[in-house]
Subunit: 346 residues, 2 copies
């Protein structure tokens, strides 16, 4: 169905009619000039926003719209969890190019609703408009936390341990796989002259890498573990631009240096295999790949045992004095300065 058949208000009604608000703090959701949110007793409000542009952040040749919707929500929730906050509400703005059908936007919204249901978040407002070109998705997420529980980027202190959840570089390798198959597909389409050829590459055995790229999950579970273990991180952020870049932020904000060890950086086996196949250095992928949405955090040295007992968390190094630099120690003991992008051990 063409979107013009529904019009802006018709499309909004269609997308929002089934939305149920579950948060008791949502006093007014979609349908007025603003959403209205009640304060949560003793808590402050946190706000984060992300703008995703077609051709820059996603490629619809290999990104199912439902996955895209899910991921668009997740990247915002990840920012809230990275401050130790609880996500509550979000707004969704879409700019939609002419080539999209109503069913496409249904699929996108279905993915967003799925993520919202899973993490208990209400869609409370937004904006829907035309776009002269591709699709743009702007999401703003609102959460709450007790003021004293918030973990900023800037609290890391000398001797603190640097911890990372999950593993790194998998989302980046998933992207490489998708880009390679896209190139093959475009070539085949060109040669065959068939423009309706479906994009159906065989990713058997690589599902994990694709899932990390196409359907990431925010690490709410790590916060629960930290709470149960009685650990309060001194600094925390989510890894969206790559470990190096985020670690440099933490050092910059905390006015400190760091030392991390290549051998301790958590990698999945599939990431290593794919890096080998692409003739890439797997550590470089893990340091600079981005889109992992894992948590990077520091804990006091006195919490070492507790931190090492956490599931799916690795201690990869420690915070040093500022003048000691921001160092990666390689497997063979060589030291390199961490760079925000394109660190190259060769």
């Amino acid at each position: 169905m063409e979107i013009s058949q529904l019009g802006e208000f018709g499309l909004i009604r269609r997308l929002t009619k089934d939305i149920e608000c579950r948060q008791s703090s949502t006093l007014k959701g979609v349908g007025d000039d603003c959403a209205v949110i009640a304060p949560t007793d003793g808590e402050v409000t946190l706000v984060t926003t992300d703008l995703l542009m077609e051709g820059v952040h996603f490629d619809l040749i290999y990104t199912p719209l439902k996955h895209l919707g899910y991921k668009a929500v997740v990247v915002n929730l990840s920012d809230l969890y990275a401050m130790n906050a609880t996500p509550r509400q979000l707004t969704v703005s879409l700019a939609i190019g002419k080539r999209f059908q109503v069913e496409d936007i249904d699929a996108l919204y279905e993915g967003m609703r799925l993520a919202c249901e899973k993490y208990g978040v209400d869609i409370v407002g937004g904006d829907t408009t035309a776009s002269m070109t591709g699709l743009a998705i702007s999401i703003t997420a609102v959460g709450t936390a007790r003021r004293e529980d918030i973990v900023y980027r800037g609290g890391a202190k000398e001797t603190d341990l640097i911890c990372v959840s999950g593993n790194l570089g998998a989302a980046y390798m998933g992207l490489q796989l998708l880009e390679r198959e896209k190139a093959v597909y475009l070539q085949q389409m060109k040669e065959s002259g068939n423009n309706d050829m479906p994009f159906e590459p065989d990713f058997a055995g690589r599902e994990y890498l694709l899932e990390r790229q196409l359907k990431p999950e925010p690490r709410k579970d790590i916060l629960e573990q930290l709470r149960q273990a009685g650990i309060r991180p001194t600094s925390m952020m989510d890894i969206s631009d790559g470990l190096s870049s985020e670690l440099l932020h933490i050092c910059h904000e905390g006015q400190c240096g760091c030392r991390i060890y290549e051998e301790r950086i958590p990698l999945d086996y599939q990431t290593a295999v794919a890096a080998e196949e692409f003739n890439m250095n797997v550590t470089t992928c893990a340091l600079n790949g981005g889109e992992d949405y894992e948590l990077l955090f520091t804990v006091p040295l006195s919490d070492r045992e507790k931190a090492e007992a956490l599931e799916d968390v690795k201690v990869i190094g420690y915070i040093a004095k500022k003048d000691q630099g921001k160092i990666l120690v390689t497997r063979d003991g060589a030291e390199f300065d961490l760079k925000a992008q394109g660190w190259n051990p060769m």
Copy 2:
């Protein structure tokens, strides 16, 4: 200067380095995964968002970037005022095409900062990214209000008076002027073969219409008047899509009808002159023009005298029973159903 010389983080630092947060509720502004906002005693939080796309919402041939920045903030503040709330914070996300220079984004940001200063709002976060094509601006504004002071769209009751601030249709006529001069300019450029010709049309005597289109102001002053007069509107919204469309929202939400009078719709003299020149019906422009950012509100009949004493506010009709329809009474006494778009008295 090319944006690539600064990089994403360099650009963000440049744009945000001079930002001062004035709201005591802003606990943490730009620079972490989220902004942190303290609750305002006894008040709830309101959130609104707008996504502006180049080629759909603005044309950079005739829109100075500073004005665009100002307007992008104003359209969001207008939504907060339309619920009788006080704007406090906002986030700014930009997607920037390759043809933009650092100085362009400086100008855009300068306009945004100007609007924020004027209305006492803090810029607390955002996102900056590349765009494959034009410019996209996504702003989310956060405000507060005492819960009992919030005015929703849905409270209009039979016999309530329908009021409008300022005058209508001027922003639309400003757009017509700009579009006409753009066509002339493009033609001249084509004929002369000079692609560097500056766009310098003569708008002498039309400044008011251009200002309404390019630099609208939200009607904070009307709320202050209402407060001083002791009037509590039963319903309110801002007029962004045109009087007809907004009035139909108010009737739909309030399950009521309405009667408005053509002769009472406030018009500026320049709007009427320009409509005549363009051979357009000025009432149609006022009903459907959009982008006025005036306030449309209803007040109890018992407040008639107070409402009529308000400065720059006109009572244009009243709320009727639902089955009496949504009617425009023309100057000659004919009755027409209000339509969301393209009402045509001919």
